[in-house]
């Protein structure tokens, strides 16, 4: 079995250290927000994990299109890895968001555009995994997966915009806030630093996990081929 490349090992260590650093910053460096107190600190991780989810979503959609054009199975592995990572990180983001929402809005969940779209996106990911599970032939699995990421990928922005015709109460920390938004706040410089660093670290974590998962996919393929050789 091929060994982990040095770059990957370094990336993993860097990600772990980065995560520890950001956690320390969040709890000891970033100031306490006046209105919400400690609950606000969830925001640093919530936005970062949602950001990773978005990255995964975009990578999956692009990988799908590239696979349909080039028919190189490597892109199928990238797509699957990106979907799995995005699924998990969006789930984390949703849970963290609920933790924040309960004290701030008085409810664990609300059917506002962003949350509803997140829920729908999770369903699309699960549907994608179920679709792949039902197909034996790797080429067909890759083709169908790519088609579904394309269809799902295009439908999600359309869904988001459709639901947004209704007013949202989700705070818009970056960009214009609607009059009905509750819980938005301005960021002081230490907060901004922590926030940006957390985004950076989580992007690094995404890249590390993606690489690991693609490598795992490749190893899985090798195992399958060895199995077939032995069975012959």
């Amino acid at each position: 079995m091929e060994k982990q490349p040095l770059a990957l090992k370094l990336l993993t260590i860097l990600s772990a250290v980065g995560l520890a650093l950001v956690t320390a910053l969040v709890f000891f460096y970033a100031p306490l927000e006046t209105v919400m107190g400690y609950v606000q600190k969830v925001f640093y991780f919530h936005v970062a994990t949602a950001w990773v989810g978005m990255l995964g979503f975009v990578v999956a959609a692009v990988a799908g299109i590239v696979y349909l054009v080039k028919h190189d199975l490597k892109w199928d592995k990238v797509e699957l890895a990106a979907v799995e990572i995005s699924l998990v990180f969006f789930l984390i983001a949703i849970v963290l968001g609920s933790i924040w929402a309960r004290p701030s809005w008085g409810t664990w969940w609300t059917w506002d555009p962003r949350l509803t779209t997140a829920a729908i996106l999770e369903m699309i990911y699960i549907a994608y995994l179920l679709l792949r599970q039902g197909i034996e032939d790797p080429d067909r699995r890759a083709r169908f997966g790519a088609v579904y990421t394309l269809v799902g990928g295009v439908s999600v922005p359309v869904t988001f915009l459709s639901i947004r015709l209704v007013r949202t109460i989700h705070p818009a920390v970056i960009g214009t806030a609607s009059a009905a938004s509750q819980g938005g706040f301005d960021m002081t410089p230490p907060m901004l630093t922590t926030f940006l660093l957390s985004l950076l670290v989580f992007t690094l974590i995404f890249a590390t996990l993606l690489w690991h998962r693609i490598r795992l996919g490749r190893l899985q393929d090798m195992v399958e081929q060895l199995k077939m050789k032995i069975l012959e």
């Binding site: 083709r143 169908f144 394309l150 359309v158």
Partner: protein, 230 residues
């Protein structure tokens, strides 16, 4: 050899496929009867699931109708593609010297026809059962636009689902999350027309329906090749 213009060939192929499905259905009527009975049963269940008194009815009619159409539609899509696969018709079609997208459009048109027939029967039945006048041209336009979007994506996804191990079960799982903009816009627009809202309020929803239809017909027919190739 006869040289016909390719566009003529294409349209002929599309209508040949549509006509094949309609003719087969005319003889057996298995698809339409299943879809129709299912849609009516859904409405019946809603009678017990929701308190459909006169006031609630006004708000809820469009939702109930679209739930019935969505589920009956799934039935139709599944059967329509399963017939192709099981009887080897799809292989025959693929061997024919026509553009693959002709197969896609042919199936979309026949699936759309079935869905519209079911809707055309459900509307008067619902009107009678709940003493609501559903004969609004706006409502009919919304049902048409919504059905087009639903069937455009549904045909593509049904073609995929029918080739997996889990088959019928997989189609709703694949289809429903992706078709949500149609449901949202169709329910809002239908509700708007039924409650006599201003056309300016309904217009955004109609726009969404039209945009969705255009985008997804385009995407579906472009990738259909990848879904049926061997």
């Amino acid at each position: 050899m006869d040289r016909q213009p390719t566009s003529g060939n294409f349209m002929k192929a599309v209508f040949a496929i549509t006509w094949k499905d309609l003719a087969a259905e005319l003889r057996s009527r298995e698809l339409l009867s299943a879809m129709l009975v299912f849609a009516l049963l859904v409405i019946l269940i809603f009678n017990f699931a929701l308190e459909l008194d006169v006031k609630t009815r006004a708000n809820v009619t469009s939702g109930v109708l679209w739930v019935a159409f969505t589920f009956a539609g799934t039935l139709g899509l599944n059967r329509s593609m399963a017939i192709e696969k099981d009887r080897g018709c799809l292989d025959g079609l693929l061997l024919a010297p026509v553009d693959r997208s002709a197969i896609y459009f042919g199936k979309v048109l026949s699936n759309l026809a079935f869905m519209l027939i079911v809707e055309a029967i459900v509307l008067p039945v619902y009107s009678v059962l709940y003493n609501t006048n559903l004969f609004d041209p706006g409502l009919i336009a919304v049902i048409l636009l919504g059905s087009i979007g639903y069937v455009a994506v549904g045909t593509l996804l049904a073609s995929m689902a029918v080739q997996t191990r889990t088959r019928d079960v997989l189609l709703p799982i694949l289809l429903f999350p992706v078709v949500i903009p149609v449901i949202i816009a169709a329910v809002k627009a239908s509700g708007g027309f039924l409650q006599g809202a201003e056309i300016a309020d309904i217009l955004p929803w109609l726009n969404i329906l039209i945009v969705y239809d255009v985008i997804f017909i385009a995407i579906s027919f472009m990738v259909f090749d990848h879904v049926v190739e061997e």
